[in-house]
């Protein structure tokens, strides 16, 4: 059971799947000899060769579109978008093409492929290396959206994504690439796409998060625990399809709900979680569903004071938890 950081877990998952299945290949900007801008593909080029670890032109629509074509012709591509901020030129290829191929052909064609993208802020990336993009894509039928927060989940979920018959957007928060170390099960380790995980049980309120915010919520919940307020923290892990049962079960036990994400507040994925709770667990609620999120300004300024202003952090989250618990 080796200990790994998330970046190493991601790399191991790709290497294992490439070893297992010769149809799997990696493509993206600088994923070859350089090993990716974060090192996620480090060593894969030397191990599997240039045909299966492909440096592409700087053209995101082509990265996704070529992956779609390769999938149509029998391969299983893992397309890396260097930063999630750069995925926007490929929006059409992901939404209109990859996500709809099975549907528009009534099941005749399919495109099993994974799109990996480092996302999120708090790393002084500025406006174009900090964005959260999950809400755009969690809205799209035909596309799965996965956001691990721990190395073992990153490993097992990425392997599941590679074996999935449909396109999966796999979002890796860049700040936790090297933040957390964890034992990752050896051998055939698959974490299914879909189920959420209760990271910390509690009775007073339910807090839902994904990616980096899971860690911040756990830190905040630790503070409230010391004050005698037991907060349940649920790591959604998969946003599409969303584990509604775990969300609703948690809220029905605690009576209060909070969603935390660093994406902008308005139209963020927290709105969907909030709507589901309001629609299906209204009678169990003892307070309003609260969202803690980035403000409605472009994410996010480079300078420290404004980046700190933008980012939810354990203190902001703990303050919101106290307020909701006292409601």
């Amino acid at each position: 059971m080796p200990e790994m950081r998330m970046i190493e877990a991601v790399r191991a998952a790709m290497a294992e799947e490439m070893e297992r299945d010769s149809r799997v290949l990696v493509l993206g900007e600088d994923v070859g000899p350089k090993g990716g801008v974060f090192g996620a593909t480090d060593g894969l080029y030397a191990r599997f060769g240039e045909a299966r670890v492909l440096d592409t032109p700087l053209a995101e629509s082509a990265i996704i579109g070529v992956a779609i074509g390769a999938a149509l012709n029998g391969l299983i591509p893992i397309a890396e978008i260097q930063f999630a901020d750069f995925i926007h030129p490929a929006f059409d290829q992901i939404v209109s093409e990859a996500a709809r191929t099975r549907y528009r052909s009534n099941g005749d064609w399919s495109v099993p492929m994974v799109i990996r993208a480092p996302f999120g802020g708090g790393v002084h990336g500025g406006l174009y290396h900090s964005q959260s993009i999950e809400a755009f894509y969690a809205h799209v039928p035909g596309l799965k959206v996965v956001v691990p927060s721990l190395p073992s989940d990153a490993h097992g979920l990425l392997k599941s994504a590679i074996r999935d018959p449909d396109p999966v957007l796999f979002l890796e928060h860049k700040k936790i690439y090297r933040m957390v170390t964890e034992e990752v099960p050896a051998g055939e380790h698959l974490v299914p796409i879909g189920p959420a995980a209760v990271r910390r049980p509690g009775t007073r309120l339910s807090c839902f998060a994904w990616g980096l915010m899971t860690h911040y919520c756990l830190e905040a919940a630790g503070q409230l625990g010391a004050e005698g307020i037991a907060v349940e923290v649920v790591d959604l892990r998969t946003l599409a399809p969303l584990d509604r049962d775990t969300v609703l079960d948690s809220v029905r036990r605690t009576g209060k709900a909070m969603v935390v994400h660093e994406d902008n507040l308005t139209g963020g994925f927290g709105a969907e979680v909030s709507a589901i709770i309001s629609e299906h667990a209204f009678d169990d609620l003892d307070g309003p569903v609260v969202r803690v999120a980035g403000p409605d300004i472009p994410a996010m300024p480079f300078n420290s004071p404004q980046e700190d202003f933008f980012m939810p952090n354990p203190q902001k989250i703990a303050d919101a938890m106290r307020k909701l618990a006292a409601y």
């Binding site: 032109p57 579109g65 992956a67 030129p89 059409d92 035909g142 999935d164």
Partner: protein, 315 residues
């Protein structure tokens, strides 16, 4: 060659039948490929159906018929029936699709499919498969970013890809001129690929160019950009066509079916009696396909929920 002529006549008969159904409000669909049938069947004549790949544009009815689609398949799409092999009645009919025939359906035909074709060709190359991919676009799609990205990727990897651009001046809604370059094929030089202009109405000219392109692709010589000039004869039909009335008459002079008929007759491969029989046979097949499609099942409403996702193990 006679079989290809038959396919061209069949495509035209289907298109005319659908146009009449549309004008008489019996169908929402229209098909527009008249005028470009020669280059389409020339492509099919050199490609191997079921082995080579076709990623068609929206006017490639004759190409899809020649690669394995049936007239009934076309009419099932036109009437949005559940047996439609392209989409089960989900897509408004224009582009066609069939995994069995390796015809890959497209969304809008506005260039997004060019990168898919490059990806298909890349997969052929890295898997060591003897396969050629042909992608067909109208001239306006060459203004789109995906056109550039697809052609550039194919050029970098010397992929077995043929980009067939069918000149499409009367394309609805698009300006007549799509670039500052006087000739599209000059861009082939910029990409480092072969490029050629062909007379898309002349089967022999088109077949020669496509044979060269396919030979190049199969021998590792990389992609070819072919610009096929055609007259959009579909413009003769719809009222409100953007083609000026005074130009419509001249379009008929460039009718690929008439040109091929003349060639076949000069080679003594076709006489008037046989031609009449082919024309009547195609009209009859089109009519039968209409009848059969009309009487076939419509999709069930709840089946709209099917095929959003596949089952684990499908990959």
């Amino acid at each position: 060659m006679l079989a290809l002529y038959h396919t061209m006549v069949m495509a035209r008969a289907l298109e005319r039948r659908v146009w009449w159904l549309n004008r008489t409000r019996q169908s929402e669909a229209t098909l527009r490929g008249a005028g470009s049938e020669a280059v389409q069947v020339a492509a099919a004549a050199i490609l191997r159906p079921g082995t080579d790949w076709v990623v068609p544009g929206h006017r490639d009815l004759a190409l899809c018929l020649a690669m394995g689609l049936s007239p009934l398949d076309v009419m099932l799409a036109v009437f949005g029936r559940s047996g439609d092999p392209t989409s089960g009645g989900r897509l408004a009919p224009a582009g066609f699709s069939s995994r069995r025939a390796r015809i890959v359906g497209t969304s809008t035909g506005s260039g997004a499919h060019v990168v898919h074709a490059a990806g298909i060709a890349y997969a052929s190359k890295v898997q060591g498969l003897d396969e050629v991919t042909l992608v067909s676009v109208g001239r306006p799609a060459t203004s789109a970013g995906d056109w550039h990205e697809g052609l550039n990727f194919a050029a970098v990897h010397r992929l077995p890809l043929i980009c067939l651009v069918v000149n499409d001046a009367a394309y609805g809604g698009a300006p007549l001129e799509q670039s500052g370059a006087d000739l599209l094929v000059r861009s082939a030089y910029g990409y480092g690929v072969a490029g050629e202009i062909v007379d898309g109405a002349d089967f022999n000219d088109a077949f020669k160019a496509l044979t060269g392109a396919v030979t190049r692709a199969r021998s590792g010589g990389g992609p070819t950009l072919l610009h096929a000039r055609v007259s959009d004869l579909s413009a003769i039909n719809p009222p409100g066509s953007r083609t000026p009335r005074e130009q419509l008459g001249a379009l008929g002079d460039n009718d690929p079916i008439a040109l091929m008929r003349r060639d076949l007759q000069s080679l003594l491969l076709l006489d008037e009696i046989t031609d009449d029989r082919i024309q009547r046979d195609c009209a009859s097949v089109a009519e039968a396909a209409v009848g059969q499609a009309r009487s076939s099942a419509s999709p069930k409403p709840a089946a709209a929920l099917d095929n959003v996702f596949g089952e684990l193990g499908d990959a």
